[in-house]
């Protein structure tokens, strides 16, 4: 019996910690965000500070990629608990729209965002974009490839990497190529990549770190991945692809209101905040260096200015979203993890 009171004190400690005092908020809003936690969290905290509305975020994990959150929204569609979906790309948001899981909302703050980055009916709005670029290790690459097709060049056999093209922005990129080039050309391209022994890895950041570590010479990634490692002083450089042709694929963040979400009023306020120029500038100033889409926004860092000047490949996103499944079916067979 000598340890009863010890056990009792532990149980009390557990109960006390479980019943901690919550701060008082003026309501709450649930957001699922695929944008990296390091960048999205300060923005959400600032929203709470300014409005008094508690934000309950669910972040994307390395294991789940962007599609994990989309899967959760689909899984919960009969009884949604998410109010706002902040996707770090666009095609999966359109996929949710096509499944009828989004509700239209035209934010007044989206007025100065070009129409190309918004759904005409207001189901989603794009902001703060990234580009698909080539990250390379300057110690290992003397002549930097200029086109995305160059990765299939035998000179780079076994020296290039890309993320598994079934999730994240790499899946979106593949779907865009299927849509813009036509399925046959896209299939030939990916088959050529496979023959050229392109390393398929878990995610863009893993591919980028492999470049920094010298494990591979180059990888197709997003601007934020390369920028982050460059800011850490790692041996990584960034090259814009297809500047003499179609341009670098632009991938905007998208924000959408979930149909039947439990807190629609707070959700609209959060969407308004996310679509403000303040948030775009914050994301531009972060190591992810995202390109603001609001017309007339100035005062962002020099490296973002350079990215903003790049020739952009602006595809038909809705058509590309239709190619998500066919491209995934083909690529799954091609790059099956054995």
């Amino acid at each position: 019996m000598k340890r009863y009171f010890v056990l009792l004190s532990f149980v009390s400690l557990m109960i006390a910690s479980a019943c901690r005092n919550e701060p008082q908020y003026k309501g709450h809003v649930v957001i699922y965000t695929a944008l990296d936690l390091e960048y999205s969290e300060p923005i959400l905290k600032k929203f709470t500070k300014e409005t008094g509305i508690e934000v309950r975020p669910k972040y994307d994990t390395e294991a789940a990629k962007t599609t994990g959150l989309v899967s959760s929204i689909i899984e919960e569609s009969a009884r949604p608990r998410c109010d706002v979906f902040w996707n770090n790309e666009i095609l999966r948001t359109i996929q949710l729209q096509k499944k009828g899981l989004l509700e239209p909302y035209v934010s007044p703050n989206a007025a100065s965002i070009p129409a190309a980055y918004k759904d005409p009916a207001g189901y989603w709005t794009g902001f703060a974009a990234r580009l698909r670029v080539l990250a390379y290790n300057p110690k290992l690459v003397s002549h930097v490839p200029e086109k995305i097709e160059d990765l299939a060049n035998p000179a780079w056999s076994g020296k290039a990497a890309m993320a598994y093209p079934l999730f994240g922005t790499t899946a979106s990129h593949a779907a865009v190529l299927f849509s813009a080039w036509g399925p046959e050309r896209a299939k030939n391209y990916f088959t050529a990549l496979k023959k050229n022994d392109v390393r398929i890895v878990e995610g863009n950041m893993t591919a980028c770190r492999m470049v920094a570590d010298g494990e591979v010479a180059m990888a197709v990634v997003d601007t934020d991945d390369a920028n982050l490692l460059m800011s850490e002083g790692k041996p990584v450089r960034l090259a814009l692809l297809d500047q003499d042709g179609s341009g670098s694929l632009i991938v905007p963040n998208t924000v959408a209101l979930i149909k039947g979400g439990p807190n629609p009023a707070a959700a609209r306020k959060l969407i308004d905040y996310l679509l403000s120029t303040e948030v775009e500038l914050a994301l531009a100033g972060s190591p992810s260096a995202q390109i603001p889409l609001h017309a007339g926004v100035t005062g962002f860092p020099k490296n973002v200015e350079e990215l903003a000047k790049a020739k952009r490949f602006l595809p038909d996103y809705a058509a590309a979203a239709d190619q998500l499944q066919p491209s995934a079916d083909f690529l799954k067979g091609l790059f099956t993890r054995k």
């Binding site: 010890v6 056990l7 689909i74 919960e76 009969a78 079934l166």
Partner: protein, 549 residues
């Protein structure tokens, strides 16, 4: 009419098992009934063109990794045991140090080894061209198996330790007169404690089969990684189930063998002093000591030093603590809640028969008929956390149960389901120490439940309850697989955040976060241990000679 006190006893006896059956086992049963309702659909998925070959490769890789890892872990644990045996007997710092890897998250060890031997690893860079083979070796099946073994060998060591206590002191004394030390050690390892070695190997095998973080971080596509991908990335629950079935076949077979083995062994009285094994020759002892030091360095010291070096200065920790205050509080709260649930559930199951009133042989029944409970616990232990989480999502995410799904209790419930068998085993081992004479006495003269509990069961169970609470709390804090799937919005745990940050955050931040997460997990347990020690001193002063010790 049944007297009210009988009804209350019955209710108390059935509370734990009923809660486990309704809250945990029912969702799992319904999830697997999906397969039983339409087996053809799942089987056709498994037999799809190319899929069978993929499953075959996955199966071969997963089992090879687990078998290799379990074997290496067993060898490491024998080395550590032989080197540290006198210290184990005296309960000094060594045994605690060798058990530490069990309390360290898998990602902690994996990150450190990648930082050490990866493509940009410290040693790889230092060796230059001579070290080019190191990363490939690290990311190979033997390399990953070694890292997993360094994490899991304390499980096997624990079983060797139990086996050692089961060896009779007099038998060892007689044998040490008749045999040379080497032969006695062989007899000890491959004769007396062989079943315990087998149990240790099996428990590491099952743990390795279900491990998710180390294979995921070290780029090994095994079943647990693919199941998570199928459910969480593609949202294909049927595919996830089809992938889970071959894994379950192996892990359940392992669990059945483990259960059979453990049901046949004679559990020792842990409080008894273990036998003293003969001294090993000087040279062998030196070699063993070097090997044991290498194990300690590889499993704990190296990860700790490397991560501290990666984290850099204290400013990084301050940044992590300031930014992650919510996660620290959430992790502790949810893990504490899960620990409390595990204690209630496991103690309830382990002691179900002891609540009986009026009937005879309550103790005997509790000790000799745990077959259903044991089977349920072994099945639960053999299930990957992702499968448990998927079953919970499918069951609780419905309008009628929406209040539970949204409440934030999902994660503690999931963590409780994953860790329940650990606590149950601790209680079960302790209860099996009830003397046979008492069982026989109780058959003649039934003891009222209140007396039985007050004078026998509670004093016996407080120490294992403390052990179970500490262990389960740390395991809950470190859990990733279930937490990733069940975490409610706004309730992110530290382990989930560490895994999230791994993706893109700077190395120093990841390292600082891993170290902070681990420290936060350890602190409440250290406080608990200190309280237990203080409590002991306090009680000894209060009651100089206590009947129950």
């Amino acid at each position: 009419m049944i007297p009210r006190r009988h009804v209350l006893s019955m209710l108390a006896g059935w509370l734990g098992p009923a809660l486990v059956a309704v809250l945990i086992l029912l969702p799992l049963a319904l999830y697997f009934s999906d397969f039983l309702r339409a087996p053809a659909r799942t089987i056709s998925l498994m037999l799809a063109p190319g899929e069978l070959e993929r499953l075959g490769r996955l199966f071969a890789r997963t089992t090879a990794l687990a078998i290799l890892s379990a074997t290496i872990a067993l060898v490491l644990s024998v080395i550590v045991f032989a080197a540290a045996e006198p210290a184990l007997a005296r309960r000094r710092l060594w045994p605690f140090l060798f058990m530490l890897p069990l309390l360290v998250p898998g990602y902690f060890i994996a990150i450190a080894w990648i930082q050490w031997l990866g493509f940009a690893g410290t040693l790889t860079q230092w060796l230059g061209p001579a070290g080019k083979w190191l990363p490939n070796a690290l990311y190979s099946i033997p390399g990953v198996a070694l890292v997993m073994a360094l994490k899991n060998y304390p499980l096997a060591l624990g079983f060797i330790y139990i086996g050692w206590r089961s060896a009779g002191t007099s038998s060892v004394e007689v044998a040490s007169v008749l045999m040379k030390p080497g032969r006695l050690w062989r007899l000890f390892l491959f004769g007396w404690i062989r079943p315990w070695l087998g149990a240790g190997w099996l428990i590491v095998l099952i743990t390795a089969l279900l491990d998710y973080t180390i294979p995921m971080l070290m780029r090994q596509h095994v079943f647990s990684v693919e199941i998570m991908t199928a459910f969480n990335v593609y949202y294909k629950p049927q595919d996830a189930l089809a992938l889970a079935l071959p894994l379950l076949a192996v892990s359940l077979a392992g669990a059945a063998m483990l259960g059979r083995l453990l049901s046949r062994v004679e559990w020792p009285v842990m409080a008894r002093r273990p036998c003293r094994l003969p001294e090993i020759g000087t040279i062998s002892k030196k070699i063993l000591n070097v090997c044991a030091c290498a194990v300690a360095i590889g499993s704990f010291v190296l990860p700790l030093v490397l991560l501290m070096r990666m984290a850099g200065d204290w400013g990084t920790f301050a940044h992590v603590i300031a930014g992650g205050r919510d996660q620290i509080v959430t992790s502790i709260s949810l893990s504490a809640l899960a620990t409390a649930a595990v204690l209630v559930f496991s103690a309830g199951i382990a002691t179900r028969g002891l609540w009986r009133r009026g009937g005879q042989n309550a103790i005997a029944r509790t000790l000799t008929h745990p077959a259903i409970s044991a089977a349920a616990m072994l099945v639960l232990y053999a299930l990957p956390g992702s499968v448990i989480a998927m079953a919970f999502i499918r069951f609780y995410n419905r309008p009628a149960l929406g209040a539970i799904y949204d409440s934030g209790f999902m994660l503690p419930l999931g963590l409780a389901a994953v860790n329940l068998p650990v606590a149950w085993l601790i209680f079960h081992v302790r209860l099996s120490e009830i003397p046979k004479t008492l069982v026989e006495l109780e058959a003649l003269e039934p003891i009222p439940p209140a007396r039985r509990w007050l004078h026998l069961i509670l004093p016996m169970l407080t120490r294992p309850a403390l052990l179970a609470a500490g262990l389960v709390f740390i395991l809950c804090m470190n859990e990733v697989q279930t937490a990733t799937l069940l975490v409610a919005p706004g309730q992110e745990t530290m382990s989930v955040r560490a895994m999230t940050l791994l993706h893109y955050a700077p190395d120093r931040l990841v390292a600082a976060y891993c170290l902070t997460a681990w420290t936060v997990a350890l602190v409440p347990v250290l406080i608990l241990a200190a309280l237990a020690r203080l409590g002991g001193h306090f009680w000894r002063k209060l009651v100089p000679h206590h009947e129950l010790d």
